[in-house]
């Protein structure tokens, strides 16, 4: 499947991909990461998170890992998610889409005021 066929990504999906980009995380950690990165502006609900995760697993963007990177604090109900190579390609494609949008916005002078 071509990464472009999934674009544009739903907001939550893109954020989840970013959250698991550098390390495997469990659900609650993903929520925390997103909240930190957006300065608390994006606060996903549990339902939205797990419905997104379910779809992303089906689409092959992420996988559930067998390893437990943080065994000390681990409890059995935690499941960790890892980005797949395909997930990376999709995240990259989405980032490029954003970048191109930003370029267009800059060319039209929307970003000059902030510089």
């Amino acid at each position: 499947m071509e990464p472009e066929s999934l674009l544009p990504l739903p907001n939550a999906t893109f954020h989840i991909l970013l959250a698991v980009a550098d390390e495997d995380r469990h659900g609650y950690a993903i929520l925390g990461d997103i909240e930190t990165r957006t300065n608390g502006q994006l606060r996903l609900s549990a339902g939205t998170l797990y419905r997104s995760i379910q779809r992303m697993v089906e689409q092959g963007l992420i996988v559930e890992t067998e390893e437990r990177p943080d065994p000390e604090f681990d409890d059995e109900r935690r499941r960790y998610y890892r980005i797949t190579p395909f997930g990376r390609r999709v995240a990259k494609a989405e980032s490029l889409r954003f970048a191109s949008l930003v370029d267009q916005a800059r060319a039209l002078g929307f970003l000059t005021g902030r510089k």
Partner: protein, 852 residues
């Protein structure tokens, strides 16, 4: 947290199993992290989150399943189309018939608290009339002495000439006591209804218009209130207009005027012509009201022993005024629709059973690959639901199109709309039927198939065989019922009404009173019109009579007094002009017709029917005998005896008749019986005479309208119209049932042949002849259809017994109907097993054995 776990049930099971615990963990952490009022917020958020997530997750699954189902359906269009078509037929038949039946039999009449409305009749069961009209004196006394009712009103049919605004028109209406509108509890749309003042003799004439009359004649102009209309030459001021839905006593009623009684109206307690309606007090039961009226009836009988000796009061709910025939027609249709539904359902069950067997391998693989059994069930439910919904939509559309065709089954005599409105009840019924179909016939076989417990083929085969037997039996019942009803209709149509119907035209000129209250005045009008009509080319004979046969005005039954005979007799009374019997082709058995010489000054004469003579002077010709009737003492001499005719309809033998000479009618007496129905017999198509006849009547009286223009042939056809509609519908149902049963047989046998391919191949390899293989298939088909036929014919006989009242003497065991049904069953069997048999013959032993 138990609350959160509860909320999680809104999500699909697969989602819950997978992520429920994780979500619980997230919720617990958020709860711990929140402070004070924030904890409440966390909970509110959780509730809305789980509702939305649940819906979305269900929608996801449905979307996926639906795509899968549509793909499979596309690959097996035969199965899908059959399921959709069968569901549609079953639902269409049932909803169409139920919506008509609900409209006529069940739904409340369109009046507030309509269950409290009753009709009151004089109960003269002892004299042979269980429900007789009421005399004004009895009505007055009932109204004054009863305490069970909030109001009681009397009314009677009215038919007046409207003149002075364009073409003169005959208007059907009702004259009613002022309390009628209060009793029905309906307020006018415009203006007001009658007040008690207007019931008094001499009060200025007023009229309330129906919505349709107002629209038709006044274009819905609100300024109509206060206008003056001329009815029968009498001025009437329009005081109000009723709402659109209001029709009473029947759909034909266009106007209502006040009913007035003179002192002399109360003199005779046997002058029965009023219909009486009353509204029960809310706290008085029907039984209580009956009890009270019975007591009042007994008291009146004691006070007037001569007139009311055997007369009491019948109190009947207005809803139950429906004629027995109309009710029976509908009940039979309901039964037929249920049979179609039953056949459709068994067909679906059989289809899904076969499919579940065929897909067992697929299910086994998917279960082995880890698909949960509930997940598989859910997908199968989606599949049957989708197909059933498509079938339901198609079926509902069919029934919406079909309902207007059934409107002939809605009796005109009820104050309800002509066509049932499609409303939420119909839709609810369709939705319920669809869902039950889906659940019952999609899920149960699927459940059995996915249980993994491989159901034995033979058991499913037997079950399907049983279903086919049921289908054959049910379709036999429908065909037998159709056959019986058709035979009954042919018999009814074959009834000799006693008069000639071909090329005879009838039309009505109701002469208004008091303009025509003298006999001489009317006689002038008749003679002028009849004289000129008879001159028209093609006219053979013409005459006028009080009430024509097969008409809605039945006239009345008069008491007859025959010298030397104990007790009163009853006979129908009619006044005629000379030539009536010739115009109607009614043979005179003895004596002569009424002649022009039978005038006011000569001896009063009468012609009576054969049954009248038979009842009074058995074995005699009756000529020269004399008798009197309750309204006149000088005796009439019988100068002629006419053949009996069917006045009240083809299906009923009429009471004895008396025909009197109109010229001998006393002035201003029983003017209701003044002749009004012209009968014109012609040698050409009588409708071609109509323009000339209109001209002649207009010349004789320019403001006199013609109404009720009909040919006698048309009248006879109308007699059987409701039956024809019913037979048409049941016949259609029977056809559908037969097709479905044939489909059932075909499906079962195709399946059996497919399952037994190897066995058949082996038999062929071992030397079985084509004849034997075909015999195998046909033999099974024949067994099933024989079992079905036997059960069906037995059931058909039982069904026929219950509708004997409609069969007009045709036996429920009619050999023609049963023979036809059995013949069709054989035909259906052959048709259904032809293709499977051919397929069995086409089995190549080598291929069949190699595939093993």
């Amino acid at each position: 947290m138990w609350f959160y776990q509860l909320l999680l049930w809104m999500c699909p099971r697969s989602f819950r199993d997978e992520y429920g615990r994780e979500m619980e963990g997230v919720q617990a952490r958020r709860w711990r992290a929140a402070k004070g009022l924030g904890k409440v917020f966390v909970w509110l958020e959780a509730v809305s989150d789980l509702v939305l997530t649940g819906l979305a997750a269900h929608a996801d699954i449905f979307h996926k399943d639906a795509r899968y189902v549509l793909r499979t359906a596309w690959r097996r269009p035969g199965f899908s189309l059959t399921v959709i078509g069968v569901t549609a037929l079953g639902i269409a038949a049932a909803t169409a018939v139920f919506s008509v039946a609900d409209h006529v039999l069940v739904r409340a009449l369109p009046f507030p608290e309509s269950a409290q409305l009753v009709k009151l009749w004089e109960d003269q069961t002892a004299l042979g009339f269980a429900r007789n009209q009421v005399s004004p004196a009895n009505f007055r006394d009932w109204q004054a002495t009863s305490a069970s009712f909030t109001s009681m009103a009397a009314y009677r049919g009215l038919s007046v000439n409207l003149a002075g605004m364009g073409e003169p028109e005959r208007v059907e209406g009702a004259s009613a006591s002022a309390s009628l509108f209060a009793a029905l509890g309906v307020a006018p749309l415009l203006g007001r209804t009658m007040t008690a003042d207007e019931d008094r003799p001499g009060a200025p004439g007023t009229v309330v218009l129906s919505y349709s009359f107002w629209q038709r004649r006044f274009g819905g102009d609100p300024a109509v209130v206060g206008q003056r209309l001329l009815f029968d030459g009498q001025p009437h001021v329009v005081i109000g207009v009723m709402p659109e839905y209001f029709s009473f006593p029947s759909r034909k009623t266009q106007i209502w005027t006040a009913m007035r009684f003179d002192a002399e109206d109360f003199a005779d307690r046997q002058n029965n012509y009023l219909e009486v309606i009353a509204r029960r007090k809310p706290d008085v039961s029907l039984a209580r009201a009956r009890e009270e009226m019975r007591a009042i009836g007994l008291r009146l009988a004691a006070e007037h022993p001569r007139e009311l000796a055997k007369v009491n009061v019948a109190v009947i709910e207005l809803r139950d005024e429906l004629s027995l025939t109309a009710k029976r027609l509908l009940v039979i249709l309901i039964g037929a629709a249920l049979f179609v539904l039953l056949i459709a359902m068994t067909n679906l069950a059989s289809l899904f059973l076969a499919r579940s067997v065929a897909r067992r391998a697929e299910f086994a693989v998917r279960l082995a690959l880890g698909a949960g059994q509930p997940r598989l069930m859910r997908q199968l439910l989606t599949e049957s639901l989708l197909l059933a919904v498509l079938g339901g939509i198609l079926g509902t559309a069919l029934s919406l199109a079909g309902v207007p065709l059934l409107s002939r089954l809605v009796p005109t005599g009820l104050p309800i709309a002509a066509t049932p409105q499609a409303d939420w009840r119909l839709l609810l019924f369709a939705v319920l039927a669809t869902t039950l179909t889906a659940a019952g016939f999609g899920v149960i076989p699927a459940w059995r198939a996915t249980r993994g417990a491989l159901t034995e083929r033979t058991r499913i085969g037997k079950l399907r065989g049983g279903l086919v037997v049921a289908q054959v039996a049910a379709s036999i019942v429908l065909v037998c019922a159709t056959g019986l009803l058709m035979r009954a209709m042919w018999k009814l149509e074959g009834v000799d009404p006693g008069f000639r119907t071909a090329n005879t035209l009838t039309f009505r000129t109701s002469l208004p009173m008091p303009k025509y209250e003298t006999t001489g005045r009317r006689e002038d009008f008749y003679q002028r019109v009849l004289g000129e009509v008879r001159q028209l080319p093609g006219v053979r004979a013409a005459a006028v009579i009080s009430f024509r046969p097969l008409g809605d005005f039945r006239g009345g039954m008069w008491q007859t007094i025959v010298p030397g005979r104990e007790g009163p007799g009853f006979a129908g009374a009619r006044f005629v002009t000379p030539g009536y019997f010739a115009a109607m082709g009614i043979p005179l058995r003895h004596g002569r017709d009424i002649a022009a010489s039978d005038g006011p000054a000569s001896q009063p004469v009468a012609i009576v029917s054969e049954s009248f003579v038979q009842a009074n002077w058995p074995g005699e010709s009756g000529l020269g005998r004399t008798f009197a009737h309750q309204f006149r003492s000088p005796p009439y001499t019988i100068v002629g005896v006419a053949r009996d005719v069917r006045f009240r309809g083809l299906g009923r033998v009429s009471e004895p008749q008396m025909y009197f000479a109109h010229a001998q009618m006393p002035d201003r007496a029983f003017v209701w019986f003044a002749p009004k129905d012209f009968m014109v017999s012609a040698s050409v198509d009588p409708l071609t005479l109509l323009p000339a006849i209109r001209r002649i009547v207009a010349q004789a009286d320019p403001v006199q309208p013609l109404s009720d223009i009909q040919t006698l042939t048309g009248l006879v056809e109308d007699e059987t119209a409701a039956r024809r509609t019913q037979i048409w519908v049941i016949g259609l149902f029977a056809l559908v049932a037969f097709l479905l049963a044939a489909v059932g047989i075909h499906g079962l046998l195709s399946f059996a042949v497919a399952q037994r391919t190897q066995e058949i191949g082996l038999r062929r390899a071992l030397g079985a002849q084509a004849r034997q293989v075909a015999g195998l298939v046909f033999g099974e088909a024949l067994t099933l259809s024989l079992l079905g036929s036997v059960a069906g014919i037995a059931a058909a006989y039982a069904v026929g017994k219950t509708m004997e009242g409609l069969l007009f003497g045709v036996s429920p065991a009619d050999p023609w109907a049963m023979g036809a049904a059995a013949g069709l069953a054989v035909l259906m069997t052959v048709a259904g097993s032809l293709r499977p048999a051919l397929r069995a013959l086409g089995v190549d032993p080598a291929v069949a054995l190699r595939s093993n």
